[in-house]
């Protein structure tokens, strides 16, 4: 009997699904997303999803895409390639959206041949990997900011300006995420005449980093740039370096610019810098931040703070909306029209959320350098917007 009860419950739910879902409105634009809501990237995934959804829903409140409403369809990809691929295909075959958002570098790489030859949809993702910003090979895929290589480049430019000829060290993880910008950053050091004295590699979440720290002590760099870690072992490295009396400055890229890192470091965060292409939640003078906060207060009264990953999702949403509006105006609301719209983005005003954005090889290579204020536990800008040519 129990089995029958469960069976009939499932049947009822499936019937409700078949009957209950209202007929789709004609004037609707679908945007699909595979987000890492669970799994090891969930800490950012939940924020990114909220950012993207909020940007699209706010656009709907402002009249949608020239009157057409946006429908946001999200599925969990668990940060696992097979689950994410299945979710991607499910959304494509069921809803056939015009625009898709993906949860990882891996998913972007796996789907990019089909995005180009079969689906022909605008695609962006949580990834800042340089491989996903290649207009010649895949015009449909873009990065909603600078790539990791650009971020490293901007940090190095900042260093070259602050202290010409400084000694620099890279500290990166043995993952694609860690290694992605390193070849470019090496070249950049040569052009900027910086002295690259050390390259240290560690596992993500490593506990024992003594040998790397000892090597750093020997090479005595002025600046150490972390890449490819989220939290650990950044704190351990900084602590051990300080214990050895080293005075070097530490820097991070986008994931190192999260408030989580500053909180985690505590007093060790003194002087810690990171590159971030978007403004923060506490930058109340920015019109778009005010708008986000007002919307958030209305929809999620319990939310007190959103990290920089939220801003990434939000910025992607703004860019999607801009492309859709342009393509719709041109009467070409399809993949080809969206690519044309994307390529025509010039000095795009994001309400102050970032610098005016101009597309360059399917990415937006602009960001600024921020430093932790340990009293207020926030990041404050130490440079103006810097563009990498």
């Amino acid at each position: 009997m129990k089995g029958r009860g469960l069976g009939s419950l499932i049947l009822v739910i499936l019937l409700m699904l078949a009957v209950g879902v209202p007929a789709m409105a004609q004037n609707e634009i679908k945007i699909g997303a595979v987000q890492p809501i669970t799994g090891r990237f969930a800490f950012a995934g939940v924020n990114i999803n909220a950012g993207l959804e909020d940007a699209l829903m706010m656009a709907n409140e402002d009249g949608g895409i020239n009157g057409k409403k946006i429908k946001y369809i999200m599925e969990d990809g668990q940060y696992q390639l097979d689950v994410a691929t299945a979710a991607f295909k499910r959304i494509m075959s069921r809803d056939n959206p015009l625009v898709m958002y993906g949860e990882s570098t891996g998913l972007g790489k796996a789907m990019s041949p089909e995005i180009k030859d079969r689906y022909k949809i605008l695609y962006s993702s949580t990834s800042f990997s340089g491989e996903l910003a290649d207009a010649a090979n895949n015009p449909y895929v873009f990065v909603p900011g600078p790539t990791y290589a650009d971020m490293m480049g901007i940090l190095l430019k900042y260093i070259a300006k602050e202290k010409p000829g400084a000694k620099v060290a890279f500290f990166y993880s043995d993952t694609e995420f860690g290694k992605d910008p390193i070849p470019f950053a090496r070249e950049m050091c040569k052009t900027l005449k910086l002295d690259l004295v050390a390259e240290e590699v560690a596992q993500v979440g490593a506990v024992d980093v003594t040998s790397q720290v000892l090597d750093l002590k020997r090479k005595a760099p002025d600046f150490v740039i972390f890449q490819g870690f989220v939290v650990d072992p950044i704190a351990t490295v900084i602590k051990q370096c300080r214990d050895f009396g080293m005075k070097c400055k530490f820097m991070g890229t986008f994931w190192g610019a999260s408030k989580m890192v500053a909180d985690n470091l505590g007093p060790l965060a003194e002087g810690y810098m990171a590159v971030n292409p978007y403004m923060y939640w506490w930058n109340d003078d920015v019109p778009m931040i005010q708008k986000i906060k007002a919307y958030s207060k209305k929809v999620y009264p319990n939310v007190a703070y959103r990290d920089n990953s939220y801003m990434q999702g939000f910025m992607t949403g703004l860019l999607f909306v801009e492309c859709l509006k342009k393509a719709d105006k041109a009467g070409q609301l399809n993949g080809e029209g969206l690519v044309k719209a994307l390529q025509s983005i010039k000095d795009f005003d994001s309400g102050g959320l970032s610098a005016p954005l101009t597309i360059k090889n399917n990415k937006f290579p602009v960001a600024r350098v921020w430093q932790v204020n340990t009293q207020k536990k926030i990041f404050e800008p130490v440079s103006d917007w810097m563009t990498l040519e």
């Binding site: 499932i10 739910i13 499936l14 409700m16 699904l17 209950g20 879902v21 809501i37 669970t38 939940v46 999200m74 599925e75 969990d76 696992q80 390639l81 097979d82 689950v83 691929t85 299945a86 979710a87 295909k89 499910r90 494509m92 075959s93 069921r94 891996g106 790489k109 796996a110 041949p113 089909e114 079969r118 491989e131 993952t175 694609e176 290694k179």
Partner: protein, 347 residues
């Protein structure tokens, strides 16, 4: 009217198609499977393909673990070897998919034999750990042998083609998968009726006794590893040709566990069980996805609670299977079949 199933010789006992009804139903199933792409969406076909690859892999693992009793935690590594071998043979040597796939199976089989050598000295949990090592060694090789595997970036694999026809959609690829699943299942089902199959079972039940009976343990254990890895290699080769890319991310340790779960949930030592297990393990997460989608519709804003919940439900389902039906889905199927084959006179 039938009121029982009577067999008069061992030959009849070993028959695959015990009655005419089995043939009829299998024929119906065959027709349904062939017609499936015409009535379903690309997404359903995508899942059907995944189930196909899982069946081939699971049947392979069941030959090794279910029939020969050698537990392997490195099955994903063999799937990976097959996948990479296919990709490399197609892109480097320029051979067509149709030649690359069997070659990749042979490469995986050779690797499986090497990994299987410890099975002659170690058993049970110890063998588990020895095969686990294979998993990690190959994960490392896939990432770090950059000249061959292109490291973390992976290799793009062109889809199979015959003349000008390209198998690049879920629907067209489905037929390749279907044919290979039928071949793989047919082979395994027949193999267990032969001298080899009986030797495998004898080794599983008591290897010492098997050796005394004259079964060459060295030969048969390695053969089981080779066969199992061959199946895994074919599954891997199909999979990467289907998704058109291969990266080390595709073959994590969790995939090995998933294969093991498939044959345990389905039924150890049963070809039919491997099929049920593969279907269950692939389909249930997808169904749960749909259910959470429906739940989201009725309780908006609760996504963050529902989405992680499906993992919990999936876990509970597997545990309940193990408790309430340790012989797996195959046994449940068997009971249902017996009930109906003698219905309404079940005594």
């Amino acid at each position: 009217m039938r009121c029982g199933d009577f067999r008069e010789s061992y030959l009849e006992d070993e028959k695959i198609f015990q009655t005419i009804f089995v043939k009829i139903w299998l024929g119906v199933l065959g027709v349904v499977l062939v017609c499936l792409p015409f009535v379903t969406s690309a997404y359903v076909m995508y899942v059907a393909n995944l189930i196909g690859f899982a069946i081939i892999g699971a049947v392979g693992l069941n030959l090794l673990t279910g029939f020969t009793g050698q537990i392997s935690l490195g099955h994903a590594a063999f799937v990976g070897v097959g996948g990479y071998a296919t990709a490399i043979i197609i892109t480097r040597l320029g051979l067509p998919f149709w030649i690359a796939l069997p070659l990749a199976g042979l490469v995986a089989a050779a690797v499986g034999m090497v990994i299987g050598i410890p099975s002659l000295r170690v058993k049970g949990l110890y063998l588990c750990i020895a095969t686990l090592a294979a998993q990690f060694i190959f994960e490392y090789v896939f990432v770090h042998w950059e000249s061959m595997t292109h490291g973390i970036r992976g290799i793009n694999v062109p889809p199979p083609r015959i003349g000008s026809f390209v198998f690049d959609t879920e629907k067209s690829f489905y037929y390749i998968t279907l044919v290979l699943v039928v071949l793989a299942v047919g082979f395994a089902r027949n193999l267990i009726r032969t001298k080899w199959g009986r030797a495998f079972v004898a080794i599983r039940d008591r290897d010492l006794a098997a050796e005394i009976m004259g079964i060459n343990l060295f030969r048969y254990k390695l053969a089981a590893f080779a066969l199992s890895s061959f199946f895994a290699g074919i599954a891997g080769g199909l999979w990467v040709s289907f998704i058109k890319v291969v990266t080390p991310e595709h073959f994590p340790f969790s995939l090995s566990i998933q294969y093991l779960a498939m044959i345990i949930v389905g039924g150890l030592g049963s070809v039919l069980g491997s099929i049920f297990g593969a279907i269950f393990m692939t389909l249930v997460p997808e169904l749960l996805n749909i259910l959470t989608g429906v739940a989201k519709y009725f309780f908006p804003g609760m996504d963050q609670l529902f989405i992680p919940m499906k993992e919990v439900i999936f876990g509970v389902m597997i545990v309940s299977f193990l408790i309430f039906e340790p012989h797996g889905l195959a046994e449940i199927w068997h009971r249902i079949k017996n009930f109906f084959s003698l219905w309404p006179f079940s005594y």
